[in-house]
């Protein structure tokens, strides 16, 4: 690690790289940076199960692979259960120390794979489920998912009729399964992401990490703004960083920075059709959700 320069932020991130270059991600892809950071923590004794999603493409075409660990591609709706099958097989074969990770997009997690995910959580399967959330079906060309925020443009929620429904609250729902660990994270906070990965890796049972991942082509944002957008998602309270242990112990990892939501939306073309009144509504919704989170934290503190 380099010496600290005054005013420069440094993070305690492992220097080892498990992932290699040669992958097929778009520039500025938050999901790809998430994987690179995750593998640094998870290490080489990791197996990834990846369903249909951008990441099924990013890894590279047969016979290449860029992740540097075994990767089991699986059907769109089967990340959690494929990982479960791999886990049990490795257990019966005496390879209990290997971390089995389901790595899926928001579509594969919030929507089509939700049944299998909920079932794996209910059985408290010993897997680490990581959802990189770019808030739409990006692989198929930016269609809405139930993780798409209210008001956002996608190709199935055009600007004249943007998405009307609020985003599904995945972490709360998984928390309600009383799994050992459910947490949010995002790439602008690699120290927080690291700590959560490390913590999750060393736990047994079902663990869920929900990583907000900017997507320049899908969010209509600048490639160079991905980290900024990721940070603003937290600073505006749009995507709070928090953890739930055993379904009831809520912990907030970042206080509110009090930044208005418009600072976040203005960097993304997917929100550019929103009127001032609509943006005000969005701010109200964000504040409302934040208040609920604060109340939960207070109740179980």
């Amino acid at each position: 690690m380099s010496d600290k320069v005054p005013g420069q932020i440094t993070y305690d991130i492992a220097e080892r790289e498990i992932m290699s270059s040669g992958h097929l991600a778009c520039p500025g892809c938050g999901a790809t940076l998430s994987m690179r950071l995750a593998l640094k923590v998870l290490g080489p004794r990791t197996v990834l199960c990846i369903p249909a999603c951008c990441w099924a493409v990013i890894d590279g075409p047969f016979p290449y692979s860029s992740v540097g660990v075994p990767l089991v591609h699986c059907a769109f709706e089967t990340a959690a259960i494929t990982a479960t099958g791999v886990r049990h097989a490795l257990d019966v074969r005496g390879q209990k120390d290997i971390t089995v990770v389901a790595w899926a997009g928001d579509g594969g997690t919030f929507d089509i794979g939700f049944g299998a995910l909920s079932a794996a959580a209910e059985r408290n399967e010993n897997i680490l489920y990581i959802c990189y959330d770019n808030e739409a079906y990006m692989n198929t060309g930016i269609q809405r998912s139930s993780a798409t925020p209210v008001g956002a443009w996608t190709t199935t929620t055009p600007a004249e009729h943007p998405k009307e429904e609020p985003k599904k609250n995945l972490v709360e729902i998984l928390g309600s399964h009383r799994i050992p660990y459910a947490a949010t994270a995002t790439v602008a906070y690699p120290d927080d992401l690291n700590r959560k990965l490390e913590k999750a890796k060393n736990m047994t049972g079902m663990r869920l990490l929900h990583i907000f991942s900017p997507c320049p082509p899908g969010h209509k944002s600048l490639e160079s703004d991905s980290i900024k957008i990721s940070r603003l998602a937290v600073e505006t309270k749009v995507f709070p960083l928090y953890e739930i242990e055993n379904g009831t112990k809520f912990t907030l990892n970042r206080e509110s920075a009090g930044v208005p939501v418009t600072e976040y939306t203005k960097l993304q073309g997917r929100f550019k059709h929103l009127t001032e009144a609509e943006l005000k509504q969005m701010q109200e919704r964000v504040d409302y959700e934040w208040d609920i989170l604060m109340k939960r934290i207070a109740v179980f503190a």
């Binding site: 080489p44 004794r45 990791t46 197996v47 199960c49 099924a56 493409v57 890894d59 590279g60 075409p61 047969f62 290449y64 692979s65 992740v67 540097g68 660990v69 075994p70 990767l71 089991v72 591609h73 699986c74 059907a75 709706e77 089967t78 259960i81 494929t82 990982a83 479960t84 099958g85 791999v86 886990r87 049990h88 097989a89 490795l90 257990d91 019966v92 074969r93 390879q95 290997i98 049944g115 299998a116 909920s118 079932a119 209910e122 059985r123």
Partner: protein, 386 residues
């Protein structure tokens, strides 16, 4: 050891003797007792395996895919709606070249809701790249579980063994169960070579461009063709060890036959009795039992039916808009036989949705096949209510 077992128990005992390591299944009548028994065998410690109690058949097969890819011998069982729900993954298991074994208890598709037997569920999976064995007795069911693993693991393809709802699944008969050591000697532990290995990381099933995909299919087809040999070879070895012989087909009293009827599943046992009666009366009729649908034993079928004047195929299934599926297969196999030796092939649909196929049914099929003047060649419904 001899025990009185239902068809479903025979499946469970087969999976136990095969030492399945990961079992994932979801209940559906008439498969349920298979997995109930396996669940208790596992929880009693009589079978050293993991039983994953999944929330759907789709997840059952996905779990087996994950487990098999990570090197464990896996097993599942289902019926009808459950099999159809798995469809996407049935293709997946074969293209991923994973030798999973699944029992399908043949049950007719809804609606109307029915739990009774016919073959439309498994035949709808004909083109998915699984080997399919249709069983006639509980003994054959148990033996086929062991055969299935040995064959599938040799050629890296998944295997479905199929038994009729209730006629086998819930009917008890004496079954010889191989001792554990005998079964182990026949079927050693699974040693997959292309499996998850952190020391040698690979991606399994990634994007295949136009440069590769067709070759994957070619290799799958080659494996099926190899399967034709392996089924016979492994069946022979099984016969030498256990005294019970299984091949791709079973011709019965087909010498100099004027007419042969073709059957699969439990209809075969009924037909065998009827053939005996006719033969005892001096009639030259025979029976061809189809045990294997895939790989389809084209050469053996041709050998058996070449030069036979008339063939009647009993289909406990229907491909709506065409006809009986076995008839279609048999006709396709016989097309390349010289015209002079090519039989007239008559299709009969019978026993759908569990309707009994009795000796009366089989007699009618034989009569009509021998005297076809008043019937359709392609498709004839038996015991259809007016």
């Amino acid at each position: 050891m001899e025990k009185v077992l239902t068809g479903n128990q025979s499946v469970s005992w087969g999976a136990m003797r095969a030492r399945a390591q990961v079992i994932a299944a979801y209940p559906i009548t008439p498969q349920t007792t298979i997995i109930e028994e396996l669940a208790s065998l596992v929880s009693d410690g009589k079978l050293d395996a993991r039983f994953i109690k999944v929330e759907s058949e789709h997840s059952a097969l996905a779990a087996c895919i994950g487990a098999e890819q990570a090197g464990a011998r896996s097993f599942t069982a289902t019926s009808a709606q459950g099999l159809a729900l798995m469809h996407e993954l049935i293709h997946w298991a074969s293209l991923a070249r994973l030798p999973i074994v699944m029992a399908d208890v043949n049950r007719a598709m809804a609606p109307g809701w029915t739990i009774w037997t016919d073959q439309n569920d498994s035949l709808s999976e004909r083109d998915t790249g699984w080997l399919q064995f249709y069983c006639e007795s509980n003994q054959e069911v148990l033996d086929t579980v062991l055969l299935a693993y040995k064959i599938g693991e040799r050629i890296k393809l998944p295997v479905m063994l199929i038994l009729d709802a209730f006629f086998l699944s819930h009917t008890a008969e004496a079954v010889n169960i191989p001792e554990p050591e005998e079964a182990d000697a026949f079927l050693p532990p699974y040693e997959g070579d292309l499996i998850v290995d952190v020391e040698n990381p690979r991606a399994f099933g990634g994007m295949a461009g136009v440069d590769y995909y067709q070759e994957f299919r070619y290799m799958q087809q080659e494996a099926m063709l190899e399967g034709l040999k392996v089924v016979e070879e492994v069946g022979k070895e099984f016969g030498e060890r256990f005294g019970r012989h299984y091949g791709l087909i079973e011709p019965y009293r087909c010498e100099d036959a004027e007419a042969i009827i073709v059957t699969s599943g439990t209809v075969t046992s009924t037909a065998r009795d009827v053939i005996d009666e006719w033969r005892d009366r001096g009639e030259s009729v025979g029976l061809l039992k189809m045990r294997t649908l895939r790989p389809f034993p084209i050469d053996l079928v041709r050998e058996t039916l070449r030069g036979v004047p008339k063939v009647g195929v009993i289909d406990r299934n229907i491909c709506p808009g065409f006809g009986g599926i076995w008839a279609q297969e048999i006709k396709a196999a016989m097309y390349d036989v010289d015209q002079a030796d090519r039989p007239d092939i008559y299709g009969f649909i019978a026993g759908l949705g569990g309707r009994d196929v009795t000796p009366i049914t089989v007699n009618e099929v034989l009569e009509k096949t021998l005297h076809p003047e008043k019937i359709e060649k392609h498709l004839n419904w038996i015991a259809l209510k007016a």
